[in-house]
């Protein structure tokens, strides 16, 4: 099933790590038109796009949930309990990321501090479509709650009856979100960027989406709105050694492949027999998969790579910088120090990516497309900014003053020097 590559040259690692390049320049023109239209006609424009693209005429994008009680929502009790457990684990892990701040007296009388302060108003985008991504509601809203963001706006496209999936509603209520707006696609991103009467402009936009949403988030940055991270198709890289269980590896690769036909799936193993065994299990397991067609397409451009030397294997993995990295091994911990670039890492034979996708506690909003080399996944810090403070006493300025004046004058900034000397001479 997977194309086999044996002992590739190091010089090919960059090429082997390349993802398909998406040229979104034509897309951008269309998305810019949507931004212009939202800027001109605000809510009327949003509702027009909703009618045109989601096929439903709404009188307002406001989805009123006043008085709706989570308990009364009609989803299976088992799903409610699963969502509550996921919430609890995500809450615990992101809560542990809180920092009480830093205080350092760098010199007598010079106190430097750093504090994390929450963003005020954030926007979450939850895609509609075939699968109701209620798990993404938890992943994006729980850390916002912990950070203390004052306002959370959630945009999601309406279904055919002008409503949203009950599991999305349930998850939103669990997270205390009261501002749900029925708007999807680039128009939702444009509205959260520019601001309308019903959809306020936000400081930062979080969340996944199709290529229109991705392009709109990229454009939003030009309007001074922050975004969680650039987005691309989801991906997994599994590293398997002789202690792996090929049946599990095949299942993990398929879990990624079913996401979309553009999903990236890579297997790296230190024995050729692993590649063959995994391929055998892929053939068996894929036959019963409901999303078999999608998974087959994804696998068709995926690779199984044999690299015997472990250091070389991790050189490749770090060059690839996968969103998800599974270490399929009984001694997974022994590889940790070799990992330089990855979004989230799954250690051991009993740690499927699904665990992090839903409920282990880690976040599932992660850098794709090699961005794991330079971007973190969503974490508590994504909802805060770090502000520095310095407090200087008269004695402190006596201690530091001459240094400041010397440096300012060497940079030809006499005004900077004067701000010190006017105090020292007072």
């Amino acid at each position: 099933m997977l194309e086999k590559i044996l002992n590739p040259n190091k010089s090919d690692f960059v090429k082997l790590s390349q993802r398909p390049v998406l040229d979104n320049s034509t897309l951008m023109t269309g998305v810019q038109t949507i931004f212009n239209e939202i800027k001109r006609n605000r809510d009327a424009a949003v509702l027009n796009y909703t009618e045109k693209l989601d096929g439903i005429k709404l009188s307002s994008s406001v989805y009123d949930i006043t008085g709706v009680n989570a308990d009364s929502i009609e989803i299976e009790e088992s799903l409610k309990n699963a969502i509550k457990l996921a919430y609890k684990n995500i809450y615990a892990f992101h809560c542990a990321q809180k920092s009480s701040g830093i205080d350092v007296e760098t010199m007598p009388g010079i106190m430097c501090s750093q504090r994390s302060i929450p963003l005020t108003r954030i926007g979450l985008y939850i895609p509609g479509g075939s699968a109701p991504l209620f798990s993404t509601v938890l992943m994006l809203a729980v850390p916002a709650l912990i950070a203390g963001c004052k306002e959370i706006i959630l945009c999601t496209p309406p279904d055919g009856s002008g409503s949203i999936h009950p599991a999305i509603l349930y998850s939103s209520l669990l997270c205390g979100i009261s501002a749900i707006r029925l708007a999807g696609g680039a128009q939702a991103i444009a509205a959260m960027t520019i601001g309308t009467k019903d959809i306020p402009a936000v400081d930062k936009i979080f969340g996944p989406g199709n290529q229109y949403v991705t392009a709109a988030k990229q454009l939003a940055q030009n309007y001074n709105v922050a975004i969680d991270m650039p987005a691309g198709p989801s991906e997994v890289l599994v590293y398997a050694d002789a202690t792996c269980i090929p049946e599990f590896v095949a299942a993990d690769l398929l879990a990624q492949a079913e996401h979309g036909s553009d999903s990236q799936v890579i297997l790296v193993a230190n024995s050729v027999w692993i590649l063959d065994k995994v391929n055998d299990h892929l053939t068996i397991q894929i036959s019963n998969l409901p999303r078999k067609a999608i998974a087959t397409q994804a696998l068709s451009h995926s690779k199984a790579i044999f690299i015997e030397d472990v250091e070389t294997a991790f050189d490749f993995i770090n060059e690839y910088a996968p969103e998800h990295l599974i270490i399929a091994s009984d001694k997974a911990e022994s590889y940790i120090n070799l990992i330089k670039n990855a979004g989230s890492v799954f250690l051991g034979n009993y740690c499927p990516e699904s665990a992090g996708d839903y409920a282990s506690g880690t976040n599932h909003t992660l850098p794709t497309n090699g961005w794991a080399k330079k971007y973190s996944g969503v974490n508590l810090d994504s909802y805060m900014k770090k502000v520095t403070f310095q407090s200087i006493t008269r004695t402190g300025l006596n201690n530091l003053g001459a240094t400041l004046i010397t440096m300012a004058e060497a940079e030809h900034l006499q005004g900077h020097a004067n701000a010190v000397s006017v105090r020292l001479n007072y």
Copy 2:
């Protein structure tokens, strides 16, 4: 000197906070041409631009400093000592930002962790021009050293003799930077984005610059290179109460105003007499300033605002979200809880912005243009990415498995459920 505004309406706060809008769309076309040219002709293109724009023909952009000893560099001993003290304070404050990571057992058998891992190769841009910004070398390189970035490339334009300012060289050596490249402007950013033989492509680009550099950094993001933050003209907001010393406030405003004619300078005070007194001192102090012409221009579009109520004053300040916020007061600490949006805060009458610009220990690379609402200034985290890990035992998966399957099936992702059940059934 400063235009006085008395008790503005809250509804005017957004308008009063607006910075001049720079349309860089024509600039972008020129910068894109530079990127295309660098992509086509690599080092030859860089050297061509250097000849055309910096007026010097180089045979290579590599600035060889092999064997150069910091002690032998010809700058005043007092400047060397000042730079060393600044280095020490910046090092101490950024070192305290190190995190040992987070480990949480969210459920029995489910261990979730977060670790900070350094970026591998970063690029620093240090502008040339009238003032040698050696302080920026310290601010950008010291945290990179602490983070453990493997490679630091420093680009700076050559002077007329194909050399760089000795204070920049001294600071670079102090920070252990060995890879200095003589390249400036958009062509330096393009080279660090695309990569040439002499200037390697980097993961992330840090540093200030003129509008061409700013536009080039914006463009670099489209090529998958990260940047420290968007940039705009530097700015200060001083909040002064009855315990301020107007002479000091005037000096601080001038220190900012001398940066550039587009600098933003705002005074907010809770008494009108403060505005008048500060204006008097501005008139006196500006007369002897070497960069008087620049400062005068900056002050011409700056404002002094009287807001009597302290909460209202901070509503405005948080809407403005200044890069630098000085609290000119004997009881500065009492205002801290009112501060929601600022890059760096200077507390008390003896804490000029110059302290943070050079040597208190905090970073001087900070969000301008209201971006302090959503971006942190440069800090240790800017040089690292946070990677999550999960380690799950067989027992852990037994505990979490049913939850994962329920959620996966509710999202119609059977492959995700299979990756769990194949393990539970093994």
